[in-house]
């Protein structure tokens, strides 16, 4: 697992209070990991802080799974 992937998963485990095993690539924040609309916004903000990036709102809307978050951040950090 890449460094980015493990940091993303750690944030999700912390913020959503879920088990690490549930945080798989295809897991949806809202459908599988119990996040509501506010949790999702908070996750995006945590990613921005952790990785020192900006995720515009229109792009944040397309990040709904663990895998999408990791891909977006990997791309942004290139």
């Amino acid at each position: 697992m890449s460094d980015i992937a493990s940091r993303v998963k750690a944030i999700i485990v912390d913020k959503l209070g879920v088990d690490e095993n549930e945080v798989v690539s295809e897991a949806s924040f809202t459908n599988d990991l119990g996040a509501d609309s506010l949790d999702t916004v908070e996750l995006i903000m945590e990613f921005e802080k952790e990785f020192d990036i900006q995720i515009p709102d229109d792009q944040a809307e397309n990040i709904s799974t663990v895998g999408q978050a990791i891909s977006y951040i990997e791309e942004a950090k290139k």
Partner: protein, 417 residues
């Protein structure tokens, strides 16, 4: 229209001197002080370095960590106290109609720590407004009763009353009114506050409102003592289950007492100073007696607002003498803030509970820390100094006055009185 009778059927408390009703009462009768050096932040640069914090509170006994992060401490305290009160009242999913159960809560400020943390966090950045999405729904003062209703499924009236240190007395009176008008069967009422923060202490310090007796925190809250120098900030929550009398009887509920009446008034005078002639305070006690259909001579006990401030304590006692005349000398007067500190928006709730427990046990908790007689106070008044006193109580009142000149008073009576 015939007004319904309203009784108290459940109690819950999370206070600086005890984290349950039983522990709170133990603390009250034994004259325990809840004051100690502040543990939440570094007080080195602060004028007042102590407060009455809640001790050994673990929100994870009530909810998981993820959920608890969505609640400011003032809401967490509300959950703890209301859980205890609802359980004490024996309310279940099946013995109430949840559409007719409300939650009317008091909070003087709301999520002050959340507000402080979010603004500090913003100030560290480059000016781009980055706020946590939970900032507003954690901070707003109405959110504590919202959490209580979501947790229990209560779908009746739901809101917070805000009148500074009178907030939860306002909540109790609103709850009393809705039930006696027949609009609800049960209302969870009370209040909570969690303002022991850098901003809370700093703000009250700059008003010269707080005691600065840093060398002796546990004796700093000394209502009616000549050397009192301000209030001691406290935090916590109190919850009371108010219920329509026939509804309570029909389900075989334990009944603590009846709510006899409530009164409200405003000083219309100053932001923070009490009116020198106490006109608003006199009016609020008279309004309460009138609402209850009682005479001053019917009253046995008054739990005062008595915050341990130089002006407020004397003004309140003068007002009591004006309302009660000669009978004032036979009252048991006390200030339990000498033990709990001042819980602001939760004060009315925990002091209402102190009155109800005093009535139940036939014991008036003391006003502790009294050492030096204040010559401005009538020596013939019984201020229940330093030791609890046995006293049969049929009727008792609880006074609360808020910054802004908001006055609220609630009268409790034994069910057969």
């Amino acid at each position: 229209m015939q007004l319904k009778r309203v009784v108290v059927t459940g109690l819950g408390a999370l206070t600086p001197i005890g984290n349950s009703i039983e522990a709170y009462w133990e603390g009250l009768v034994n004259g325990k002080s809840g004051a100690a050096p502040i543990t939440y932040y570094d007080t080195e640069k602060h004028k007042t370095k102590f407060a009455c914090e809640v001790k050994n509170f673990d929100i994870e006994q009530f909810m998981d960590r993820k959920e608890s992060r969505r609640l400011d401490k003032f809401s967490q305290y509300a959950i703890a106290a209301s859980d205890e009160a609802i359980k004490d009242a024996g309310i279940t999913d099946t013995n109430v109609n949840k559409a007719r159960v409300g939650v009317i809560w008091g909070a003087g400020i709301g999520g002050l720590e959340t507000f402080q943390e979010e603004v500090l966090n913003y100030a560290k950045g480059d000016g781009t407004p980055k706020f946590n999405p939970f900032f507003i729904p954690k901070m707003i003062a109405d959110i504590a009763p919202a959490h209580i209703s979501m947790r229990n499924g209560f779908m009746g009236p739901n809101y917070t009353t805000v009148s500074a240190c009178a907030s939860s007395a306002n909540a109790l009176i609103d709850a009393f009114n809705y039930i006696r008008l027949g609009m609800c069967d049960v209302i969870i009422s009370g209040g909570s506050e969690a303002a022991v923060t850098i901003a809370g202490m700093g703000g009250f310090n700059s008003m010269h409102a707080l005691s600065t007796r840093n060398d002796s925190p546990e004796t700093a809250s000394r209502p009616f003592d000549a050397t009192r120098d301000g209030f001691v900030l406290g935090e916590g929550a109190g919850a009371l289950v108010l219920e329509e009398y026939e509804h309570a009887k029909a389900r075989g509920a334990k009944i603590y007492c009846e709510i006899g009446g409530g009164g409200l008034s405003s000083d219309a005078y100053h932001l923070t100073a009490p009116h020198p002639e106490g006109v608003g305070v006199i009016a609020v006690m008279q309004n309460t007696l009138r609402d209850a259909g009682m005479q001053p001579t019917d009253v046995d006990h008054i739990n005062t607002h008595g915050t341990s401030t130089p002006l407020g304590d004397v003004a309140e006692l003068k007002a009591i003498s004006a309302v009660f005349g000669d009978h004032a000398k036979t009252l048991n007067i006390n200030s339990t803030k000498s033990m709990t500190g001042h819980l602001l928006g939760a004060a009315g709730a925990i002091e209402a509970i102190a009155v109800i427990l005093a009535m139940q046990h036939g014991i008036v908790p003391p006003t502790i820390n009294h050492e030096v007689v204040d010559e401005n106070i009538d020596p013939s008044l019984n201020l229940t100094l330093n030791k609890a006193q046995k006293r049969e109580i049929k009727v008792a009142m609880s006074n609360t006055f808020g910054f802004g000149g908001h006055n609220a008073c609630v009268l409790f009576k034994k069910i057969d009185a």
